[in-house]
């Protein structure tokens, strides 16, 4: 209960509080807020009066009376026995305690904001610190041994064998660069960068990883110990890396399952032969006996069908020469054919008149590759017959061109694609999808664009010409059990206009 001073000029000196007719004040209030507490439980149940007497500074007294009623809660409520009732025998009596007045719920004071913030920082910071500051983790993550700690310009590992380094460069370009990039920057996070990669400090781990693969890294079971040593040497000593060389014996020791060095030494030209054969157009320029023979036989296969089953080598080369000129644009191969002799020149002339009626662009590219290999010696006299053959049976010529395309495509696939999509086309799902039975291959334009532009983990191939694109697309659409049909150079050129012809 509270009172306030009046708004008159009189000042309140005090307020005396009396109960009923008592002469002694229950409370005397001398200063605002004039509040006191009345304990009604000490009063008798019934009517009472509260008297408030205000005394002014001038000595004036004014009184206010407030009557009120006190009703005590029953201690207990009794049911079964009324006041003044008459009872006999056993009587059931219920005694019920009166319900307490409902209390207003008290809102508990929650923790303050800083406690939340502090907890978050402590918990998350503790976890971070555990990983970053505990020595065992930093020691394992950091490159072990002294070679990693050495400056990049100062090789501290074993001496680098330049022959192995050179061989490794070739192998890397053919098998690894499509994912790890020629610059070694990779395509993180799927293909980690090799430049500055501390993992390379452990030579045996590198050899093991190259040979066995792991994660999205494909295995290379066909690699010999020499190949492994070459690739390991190359990646450990390029792009600013200087982890030292890896000897063939080291590689063999790290990966005993790989072929022994002796076996690999017996066939030193195998890798280079493979890459040379990968260059169907460059086969002629290598001019080694075995390579030119192989390329010539390839030309024979395509040219043979172009000339309706003619078995002479002369007709083979001339057929390809004539179809090569049908496109009128095969600069490298055309140049080679032109410099090789008169026969090929005349063949191209006649081919442009007769073979062009078939309008087969594939024939041009195929012929270009064949002309680069065999045109110098065998194309002299038979050019007219080849041109007439292609004119007579354009369909058969296309069939021969298709075979050549597939052959080229296989070589390109083996060199550029098989490391991820596997030679069997099974891929390594889900990172490298299978090509066998892949419905995506139904759309030739989409396939060509994907090869040329790349996407996701698939690297682009900007150096591919329309012919290369047609060859690879035809090969993967016609291999691994697929039969989606070949893709012509013209189609490939339309699908990837930026590709060179």
């Amino acid at each position: 209960m509270s009172g306030k001073g009046s708004s008159s000029s009189d000042t309140v000196v005090r307020i005396e509080v009396y109960l009923d007719d008592a002469t002694e004040a229950v409370s005397v209030l001398t200063a605002p807020p004039f509040r006191f507490q009345l304990d009604s439980s000490a009063l008798e149940q019934g009517d009472h009066t509260l008297r408030l007497v205000r005394i002014d500074a001038a000595g004036g007294r004014r009184e206010r009376r407030i009557p009120f009623h006190v009703q005590h809660e029953p201690i207990v409520e009794v049911r079964g026995l009324e006041d003044g009732a008459t009872v006999s025998g056993r009587v059931d009596i219920d005694v019920v305690a009166p319900a307490a007045a409902p209390r207003e719920p008290v809102e508990p004071a929650g923790p303050s904001l800083w406690l939340y913030v502090l907890s978050t920082v402590l918990v998350l910071g503790g976890i971070w610190a555990f990983f970053m500051l505990v020595p065992i983790y930093s020691r394992v993550v950091a490159p072990p041994s002294t070679e990693a700690a050495a400056p990049a310009s100062q090789p501290s590992g074993p001496p680098v064998d330049q022959t192995l380094l050179k061989a490794g460069e070739t192998l890397y370009a053919s098998d690894c660069a499509s994912c790890h990039k020629p610059s070694g920057e990779g395509m993180p996070p799927t293909f980690p960068a090799l430049a500055g990669n501390s993992f390379l400090s452990d030579a045996s781990a590198v050899v093991k990883k190259v040979y066995e693969g792991g994660g999205s890294m494909p295995s290379h079971p066909s690699y010999t110990a020499k190949d492994l040593a070459a690739v390991a040497t190359y990646v450990r000593n390029t792009w600013g890396n200087s982890y030292g060389g890896v000897s063939v014996s080291d590689a063999a020791g790290a990966e005993p399952k790989a072929s022994n060095p002796a076996a690999s030494a017996a066939q030193p030209s195998a890798p280079s032969g493979g890459s040379a054969s990968g260059g169907t157009a460059s086969g002629g320029s290598t001019s080694t006996g075995s390579t030119s023979t192989g390329a010539a036989s390839t030309g024979a296969a395509s040219g043979g069908s172009a000339s309706s089953g003619s078995t002479s080598s002369g007709s083979t080369s001339s057929g390809s020469a004539s179809s090569g000129s049908a496109t009128g644009g095969q600069a490298p191969s055309g140049g080679a054919a032109g410099s090789s002799g008169n026969g090929s020149t005349s063949g191209s002339t006649s081919g442009s008149t007769s073979g062009s009626t078939s309008g087969n662009a594939n024939g041009g590219s195929t012929g270009g590759s064949a002309a680069g290999t065999a045109g110098s010696s065998a194309s002299t006299g038979s050019a007219p017959s080849a041109s007439s053959g292609s004119a007579a049976s354009g369909g058969q010529a296309a069939g021969g061109n298709e075979q050549a395309l597939l052959s080229d495509g296989k070589q390109l696939y083996d060199s550029d694609c098989a490391s991820c999509h596997q030679p069997s086309g099974a891929g390594i799902p889900p990172t490298f999808p299978a090509l066998a039975g892949n419905d995506f291959l139904q759309d030739p334009a989409a396939v060509v664009q994907r090869i040329f532009d790349g996407k996701g983990t698939m690297p682009p191939h900007p150096s591919y010409t329309a012919k290369d694109l047609a060859a690879v697309a035809s090969y993967i659409r016609e291999s691994f059990g697929n039969s989606y049909g070949p893709v012509s150079v013209q189609e490939a050129g339309q699908a990837a206009p930026k590709a060179g012809q």
């Binding site: 939340y116 976890i127 971070w128 990983f131 993180p188 980690p192 999205s216 889900p430 999808p433 419905d439």
Partner: protein
């Protein structure tokens, strides 16, 4: 009286985030050991993430309860007051439809191109699930009346 606490859900979610963080750093450590080659989830990481998911859901349920019921249940009937919640509901419904279309497109794209992006597909589906959950909570909060009854402590239920 029954209370919906806000402290326990906070620490539950905090521990869930801590477990996710732990699994992430563990993965980075394993990747570093493998020469930067990302590795599949380890058994330990799967365990950490699983426990984190359980804690996260528990914490979220706690916060949703606070939002729906308040911190303390008051006996009586509580009428729902929709206000302008219908606009939020419409926006969330549109979002759910858009995400569903995106999800179907992602699946069809994966089937056509054999390029599967599980992270993207999973994120879209999680978005759909969360949107639907938000819609349900919105309906419960703004469109459904509630009644809180009082039950004496010595009821027939032994606990």
């Amino acid at each position: 009286m029954y209370r919906n606490d806000r402290v326990i859900p906070f620490f539950t979610i905090l521990f869930a985030v801590a477990l996710f963080f732990l699994a992430y750093l563990d993965g980075r450590h394993i990747t570093a050991l493998e020469g930067g080659v990302p590795q599949p989830l380890s058994v330990g990481q799967i365990g950490l993430v699983s426990l984190g998911i359980v804690l996260l859901i528990y914490g979220l349920i706690g916060y949703v309860s606070v939002w729906l019921e308040g911190r303390e249940l008051r006996p009586g009937t509580h009428k729902a007051r929709p206000g302008n919640a219908q606009w939020v509901g419409m926006a969330l419904s549109a979002l759910a439809v858009a995400l569903s279309g995106l999800f179907v497109q992602a699946i069809v794209h994966a089937l056509r191109t054999q390029e599967n992006h599980p992270a993207v597909e999973g994120a879209i589906f999680a978005g759909i699930s969360l949107t639907v959950a938000a819609l349900l909570a919105l309906y419960k909060h703004y469109y459904q009346d509630d009644e809180v009854g009082v039950e004496s402590e010595d009821s027939e239920v032994p606990w």
